[in-house]
Amino acid sequence: MAYEHQIDYDQRVIEIRGLYKSFGSLKVLQGVDLDVFKGENVVVLGRSGTGKSVLIKIIAGLLPPDAGTVDVLGRRVSELSEEALRALRLKLGFSFQNSALYDSMSIRENLEFPVIRNMPAMNKSSLNDLVKETLDAVGLLNKIDRMPSELSGGQRKRIGIARTLMLKPEIMLYDEPTAGLDPVTSVEINKLINEVQERYNTSAIIITHDLACAKTTGDRVVMLFEGKVAKEGSFQEVFASDDPEVQNFYNYNFIQ
């Protein structure tokens, strides 16, 4: 385990059963089962194109599943009305692979946007305090009036995470949080993911193919292979196996 914290194994915040998804003739997910418990950081590993992003987009209701069920905080995502889905999404924080900052808005406006859209009644000064507090949590308070294009990749990633924290989510979904970042910045992002877990008491799915990230952030590692969960367990358990697919992954990350 990455570090000591409370996991409630009686409470599933995400429960996925028999999830299938194809695009035309391209079969992407072929029967994925996955649970995330309250307070747990689950790392999903897999090669590019195995459908990791598709998996969390289905969880967030951005893509419909072909078959199978996805329950988030006890609600079946595919059966929710537009309004109920919107309410559920307020409890999800989604960190996109390319940060997806609103590039016509300043950092402050990026952070304010979800709050203004969802809680228009919040007064100006408490919103301002919340923005500052959240930027402080990701260590970028000094960038408050910059534009996204003026930031580095790692800073953009932090702002993307900060923006999702504005709504105090219960579940975080990170899509390749360290992809495209240098090792030092990656370590900082990994630390931030654990800090978010601690500070906001979230559960999380962390998608990655970076094993350092998996090792430092994951309480449990799930390996996707050919559209299914191929291996599952702690980092040590998964990589103790001499399965060639797993070993290739390990060698590439640590030995090369």
Binding site: R89, L90, F94, F96, Y102, R117, N118, L167
Partner: protein
Amino acid sequence: MDACFPRHRVLRFASILQQAGKFSIRISLANETTSKSGLGARWEELTLGLYDAVRFLGRLFRQAVSRPFDFQEIIRQCYEIGYRSLPLITLTGFVTGIVFTKQSRPSLVSFGATSWLPSLIAIAMIRALAPLVTALICAGKVGSNIGAELGSMKVTEQIDAMEVSGSRPFNFLIVTRVAASTLMIPVLAMYCAFVGLLGSFLNIYQNEKTSFVTFIADAFEQISFLDLGTSLTKAISFGFTIGAVACYKGFYASNGTQGVGKAANTAVVLSMFLIFMEELVIVQVSNWLR
């Protein structure tokens, strides 16, 4: 006959024709094998596109009348769409007025009827040119702008990011832009007619020394409420078309950066096509009412 068409030339011509014939048969045969899927795919694409478009319109109207209304963003978009198009509309409207006056004068001179110029120009400008010119200019400027902006927001997942934070991107991005464009194109068209008539007046004043009061009186003598109403109806539907088409193409853009260019491009082409179709229908209907 023989002299003009020597035998060998005729033969060569025939053989060229024959070759061409064979070639075209070969092409059509080659097409035959693929055409089923090609044509079928086209057909499928078209029907799917129509289905999507109808669903988009349904959603647009549903969201447009549901709370919350983003007045602030609508005003910002009005500024973007309306105010920023002013220089272009000023130039084109003014030039259209002058050029149309200059080109109409010779035919009227031959009847000794140059005093008809003001009313002729007013009819042409208000009934037809102002809404059409404004709409075509804005289809190019506003349409490509919206298409590219929303398209790049789509491919960089900014729209998904709004979606998953419960921020109602459809209301914030689409409804506001369509509303602003529907409001602003009529205003711009009126302004275009005004600037066009101004250009025309300056030219007429220079040549026929008509006073401003006479010009205005002559110009509006022939204009009925039906003309104004028809013109306004056109401008409103052109504005809606430009906004809705560009938003649709941008919001559903795909395939990386290529999708952005395609969204901007098809937004312009499709809205221009629809503008001409609407022009045809509205003019027809207004002529029935006349």
